[in-house]
Subunit: 485 residues, 2 copies
């Protein structure tokens, strides 16, 4: 590949190269190429260089220089965004600001249940470090081997443990960031109570790097799991699944850590996809629930005994049709493998549009049933279904192309916009969010502009303009463009 200087003058690049030295600067096109597209290959940009500062002071210097020279920056961690949030603009006017060299766990304390991590620490590295001190960091997701702490904070990431432990927002006790003027916001001290005005920490969480660069965070650890029980329950409907959740919570309190719902046809796809797998219960009920209960202490009664008693009550009450509890860890893992294989199994069924949406929990059971039917009626031949975190009011809602559709991209190009608008309109009508977990990035920006109310849109734009009047922080992300809404 050959160098393109794009719109950035060589003397400008030289300023950054001088500032960061050879370890912190590359303009080698082959080194840059993997980082100019998202991992799903949907978004493509250009960048003349990757800037890789080594520490917070260097991030501050880079941001200060970028502001002086009016060069936009696209911050990047593991480049695992689901919405094109880390892909630079197509015109090459921005440089990539990689946080991957800020990869130190500055401190970790079991006594205080706190890990202070730099932005570039990879999630699985933090998991291992917490494990090493007898604690755990209770947030995980598929990309844990690549996703970085800075990116997880900037997208307010979720996962399967949100029901009990919340999203990233609930796990960040303190934050350090470089603001667009290059100043360092030093808020790492983990204060449980702090009412010194607007919560800048909360504002930076989920801001997708558009207000500044998160450089480090104090993250909350929780006790390691001493004992767990994993159950599989067959139910009649999503409404019964929600009744089951309420019953289980009433019996087991805060110890319910996983509660995932899947339709029987989704399970069928998984069983086709995993030839050695089997349905954990004998009855093939219309819907299924995976439950995990965790205790930090082992003792009487065990989580398994407590879950068994609760499921007994659910059967008596007619909420559960059939149920099984994993008899050992390997069976528990097998239950979870069914859940974790849903995405690839659905993918094997053919091209589909996937929506990461939320509605108030109480409305979700009806939404799952009624909106799937409505989508299939509106777009004949498609198959619509959803699965996931019912207890969070968040499911993955899929609309699959008609059977036999060979060219997925062509189908998406032809139908995607209309189907997306249909699903998003239903979400808004149900009081929900068109982005539950993944953020807005560039993928959902126009839809946010179309659907956000005027008060929300003007607040988003006012905050952006206040922090970043030159528009240099992660350009073309999150904030709808003037024509969009």
């Amino acid at each position: 590949m050959t160098k393109e200087n794009l719109s950035i003058a060589p003397e400008t690049l030289a300023r950054f190269a001088d500032l960061l030295g050879p370890k912190g600067f590359t303009d080698d096109p082959d080194a840059i190429a993997p980082w100019t597209s998202d991992w799903r290959g949907r978004f493509h940009g250009k960048a003349a260089a990757i800037l890789s500062p080594a520490d917070t002071a260097e991030v501050s210097a880079v941001v200060g220089l970028a502001t002086e020279l009016r060069i936009p920056l696209t911050p990047q961690g593991g480049n695992t965004s689901m919405v094109g949030g880390a892909t630079p603009p197509a015109d090459g006017r921005a440089l990539i600001l990689s946080l991957r060299r800020l990869n130190h766990i500055r401190s970790i304390s079991a006594a205080d249940n706190i890990a202070v991590c730099e932005a570039g620490v990879i999630l699985s590295t933090l998991h291992d470090a917490a494990d090493g001190v007898g604690r755990r960091f209770p947030l995980s997701l598929g990309a844990k081997g690549s996703a970085t702490i800075g990116g997880l904070i900037s997208t307010n990431a979720g996962g399967t443990q949100v029901l009990r432990h919340g999203t990233m927002r609930a796990l960040v006790d303190g934050i350090e960031a470089v603001l667009p003027d290059g100043s360092i916001f030093s808020g790492l001290d983990p204060l449980k109570k702090d009412n010194r005005g607007y919560d800048i920490k909360q504002l930076l969480i989920g801001a997708e790097g558009t207000l500044g660069i998160v450089t480090a965070a104090s993250l909350r650890l929780v006790p390691a799991i001493a004992a767990r029980a994993v159950g599989w329950v067959g139910v009649e409907s999503p409404a019964a699944a929600l009744d089951l959740l309420r019953l289980i919570e009433g019996e087991l309190g805060d110890s319910v850590e996983g509660f995932e719902v899947v339709a029987d046809d989704g399970l069928g796809h998984v069983l086709d996809y995993l030839p050695d797998a089997r349905c954990p219960i004998e009855t093939r009920t219309p819907w299924h629930v995976l439950i995990e209960v965790d205790h930090a202490t082992s003792g009487d009664p065990t989580p398994g005994e407590r879950l068994e008693a609760a499921l007994g009550k659910a059967m008596e009450a007619g909420i559960a049709i059939d149920a099984a509890i994993a008899v050992n860890e390997s069976q528990a893992d097998a239950f979870w493998r069914l859940r974790e294989s849903l995405s690839p199994a659905e993918k094997a069924q053919g091209p589909a549009l996937q929506f990461d949406i939320s509605v108030p929990v109480a409305r979700m059971p009806a939404f799952m049933v009624e909106e799937a039917a409505a989508a299939m009626a509106r777009f004949p031949g498609t198959t619509a279904s959803s699965f996931g975190h019912l207890g969070d009011g968040n499911v993955h809602f899929h609309v699959r192309a008609p059977a036999g559709t060979g060219d997925g991209p062509a189908w998406i190009a032809a139908q995607g916009k209309e189907i997306s608008a249909f699903v998003h309109d239903a979400v808004v009508a149900a009081g929900g969010s068109i982005s539950a977990e993944h953020g807005i990035g560039q993928m959902k920006r126009a839809e946010l502009g179309r659907l956000a109310g005027p008060a929300r849109l003007s607040a988003l734009r006012a905050i952006k303009a206040a922090f970043d009047p030159l528009g240099l922080m992660n350009p073309e992300k999150l904030i709808p463009l003037p024509g969009e809404g």
Copy 2:
């Protein structure tokens, strides 16, 4: 009292009177007078009228008119601010915007664990309503009979249940607010996951009415308490108290709802103040801890049995010196009465300066001991001590005037600024916050300006200017003035 039109023209007042009608407008000086000072009588302002809209639409109209006419508004709920946050400016240029007529609980659902309350609902009214549906709202404080939901949200209120349930921030699942341009931000739908950009809800919580007017909120309810155990434990030091908390949390998980620490001399003042009270344990240890453990389900083992087992381990480990568990509800109430009498008992000892501060939990034990000693050394004759929410890293730190000081206000006038600066400097040095629970209001504004770092100050000012460029929302509160920092 006679009417003063202050700086507001009669025709301007007439516009508001016409808009709101007789129930929503008063310029009667006798009706206004109680609301122009804070309840502790420290801050005094003036206002030509109180505006009392009946619903969100009227709030929107009032704010729109105020913006059109450039009239500042001082929002007010129960007027229970500890920092002068609801007192209008002294020059009378602002009108009071009372939210007290927005006093409806729009809906309450035990199944969904949600109550949708308007801003003027009084906290104890919500407690009763939650109780009526078999749930509870787990935040309480001394002013619960006057404090309103809007004020509690706008100050991110705390209390004694924060350890388990968090501050108001953790209990607000959705928010409705009128922004300074009169637009209505409709965010009441309780979404557990919502990544549509900057979290406007979080920004409005704790904003003290300076960015807009909170008109309603969706609040999280939790299960009613089925069984509780209350214990009193004697320990050697705050450090031992923190070790005790960690041990108890390890044994009892998330069920620890109260953990309050008090020095033995503070307990002595309470016992002097309450002649019929006695120390719950036989040994008078240097420090004492009050613990409450709550279960939503009654069953084996009971909270009392579990707490007893945990305290047994604490005694074996040498962490606890002596311990008692209340044998019935009336004894449990008597334990709590000791804690709740600390403020009046301390007050009876003579004039004092009180500081609402937080530091990281791990640093709090040393802070309590060392900074009390440092303050007494620096200001001879004073007595410094602290008590409260050790598990939140938040204590009430008091510096009492030398024995025999007759004129409290004169002592405060002479010494207050210097002592405040001394304590606040120590808090900042320990990585803490000069306002843990009470907010900034007008009382702590100058100290925030002196002590906040430049990045924090410029972020606060940028957000304020972005939302409220005319400076009409709760003027002279929270944001340090140009000369202040």
